[in-house]
């Protein structure tokens, strides 16, 4: 049996890319209506960089970098802020928003009646979050070069690295949104996000922690991003980065797979 031919003008374009793109387009259209949200999203991480990098940096002085040599605190903490703001931005984009579209506004009920599948929806939402996250990360890198004197060309590679962090956490965010039952469940997301932000060797080296906690941190997802971005921004890359990136990619893949299954169950019962 051949598949039915659609009418003129309607295309069931190649599933990998074009269908989700229509939903990404929709999200961009909504975003364009509120440019100030974009603009302030660019500014927020810079506030953190100024306060923690420069302000607290004034109190701390220097911090040992990945290869043991001391670096100014701003240079130490900035890459970690880059990674954690990629995480925070992605989770922010992909939890409340998605939950709202799933259960309150029920927008997706309308979307699954079109050629788009639940998988297309998951891909599109995560892609939208990644687009935004990439933009913020790029702006942050520029601010970082100005404020903390990052000069290494390796720092340019911190951008794709931060985008991967954004991708992994956007996928996790979408997945959690699919499992939530009420708005209060977002507190649980906070309870995961906050310790990740505070304890992923973000503000100081791992060596502060007791051995058991070090192992725990090294297994946590944000740490991968922090470690990779830090090595790159400080111009001290090691082969460990490959492992960190592989971890993030695997996390993104797993979260996408679970998201797709769950969204299919929710949207096409």
């Amino acid at each position: 049996m051949s598949s039915p031919a659609p009418r003129v003008g309607v295309t069931v374009a190649s599933p990998r890319f074009a269908r989700p793109a229509a939903l990404v387009g929709r999200n961009l259209m909504v975003q364009k209506a509120v440019p100030y949200v974009w603009a302030t999203g660019l500014v927020e991480p810079v506030f953190y960089l100024l306060s923690i990098g420069v302000g607290i940096g004034h109190l701390v002085g220097k911090m040992p970098g990945p290869n043991g040599a001391e670096v100014p605190y701003a240079a130490f903490v900035a890459p970690a802020l880059l990674a954690s703001s990629a995480m925070n931005g992605a989770v922010y984009e992909c939890t409340t928003n998605i939950f709202d579209k799933l259960h309150w506004a029920k927008i997706y009920r309308g979307v699954v009646a079109t050629p788009l599948t639940p998988r297309d929806i998951a891909v599109a939402e995560v892609a939208s979050a990644v687009v935004r996250s990439a933009l913020y990360s790029a702006a942050f890198l520029v601010a970082m070069a100005v404020l903390s004197g990052t000069r290494s060309p390796w720092a340019l590679l911190a951008l794709p690295c931060a985008v991967l962090v954004g991708l992994a956490f956007a996928a996790c965010g979408f997945m959690s949104a699919c499992y939530m039952r009420s708005w209060t469940d977002f507190d649980k997301v906070m309870l995961v996000q906050m310790p990740l932000f505070l304890f992923s060797a973000t503000f100081y080296p791992l060596s502060v922690f007791p051995r058991w906690l070090q192992l725990l941190v090294e297994a946590a997802p944000l740490y991968q991003g922090v470690a990779a971005c830090r090595e790159l921004c400080l111009g001290q890359p090691s082969w460990d980065i490959i492992g960190h990136l592989a971890y993030l990619a695997a996390l993104a893949g797993a979260a996408m797979a679970i998201s797709t299954r769950r969204a299919t169950k929710l949207l096409t019962p």
Binding site: E44, S51, G55, L59, V60, G61, L191, Y204, V208
Partner: protein, 263 residues
């Protein structure tokens, strides 16, 4: 039974209490874990890298943990208050239950709703402050029994944010502006009000901005109480300032609420 009746102004609390009872478990765990995590990571962890006599002198002589803990109590008060007076107001007006409308259908006035909502914010901030106080005492950051007065300072700071913000929140047609309040008001205040480093490090212009905004007054009060070094006159000055903000904010809220709910 007239003697045991709850006054009108506090009756909206019935609603908030009912919603709280449904979700207190996750609320409590967030409220409790936030201070534990922040004090451990920033206070103790990062604090272990902040040494040297001159630096510590600029922090008031004690360690970094003692410097940052009282400020974090106040920033948390602000965060709890802001989140309870943005989405909650929007929700009470537009979404879940349209709670405000049902309150108006009951014999409550617009003024009662404003007072009731603010009373609820104050109660929630009080709870968060109590947790923070207990946790920072456990971390050894409290140096004076006067710190107990933070149980009042926390809610006062919270109200200084909540009152003007609910006045605005009731007027919005869309939730997007709340993001702006978080990013452009809360985050900068959190980061630059003498919380993590002394205000003296800021350029003069920015320092004056910090003086005008409520958070710094709260931080000064709380820090003075934790250290037991708060003078009567500065205390009165800071409190008076916060009370004025609350009064002006509440008056504005009464007006905007009336305009929106009972035009």
């Amino acid at each position: 039974m007239a003697g045991t009746q709850v006054p009108m102004r506090l009756r909206p609390l019935h609603y908030f209490w009912a919603t709280f009872r449904r979700q207190w478990r996750s609320d409590i765990s967030t409220t409790f874990l936030t201070p534990v995590l922040y004090l451990a990571s920033i206070g103790a962890g990062l604090g272990s890298f902040i040494k040297g006599g001159q630096v510590l002198a600029s922090l008031g002589g004690e360690d970094y943990l003692s410097f940052v803990a009282p400020a974090l109590l106040v920033t948390t008060a602000m965060q709890v208050a802001v989140s309870r007076s943005t989405y909650d107001v929007y929700g009470c007006k537009n979404w879940w239950s349209g709670a405000y409308r049902s309150m108006l259908a009951a014999p409550l006035s617009v003024g009662d709703i404003v007072t009731g909502h603010l009373a609820w914010v104050a109660a929630r901030v009080g709870l968060a402050s109590a947790f923070y106080l207990a946790v920072s005492a456990a971390f050894g950051a409290v140096h004076s029994p006067a710190a107990a007065a933070d149980l009042v300072v926390g809610p006062v700071v919270g109200l200084a944010f909540a009152a003007p913000i609910i006045a605005y929140a009731i007027t919005v047609r869309h939730e997007q502006p709340f993001v702006m309040i978080f990013r452009l008001v809360m985050v900068p205040l959190f980061l630059f009000s003498g919380t993590f480093f002394p205000l003296s490090q800021l350029p003069t212009g920015l320092r004056y901005i910090a003086y005008v905004l409520p958070l710094w007054h709260g931080v000064e009060l709380s820090r003075g109480l934790y250290q037991g070094s708060l003078g009567a006159w500065p205390a009165l000055g800071h409190l008076a300032y916060l009370v004025v903000v609350i009064a002006v904010g509440s008056m504005a809220a009464s007006r905007t609420y009336r305009k929106e709910l009972a035009p």
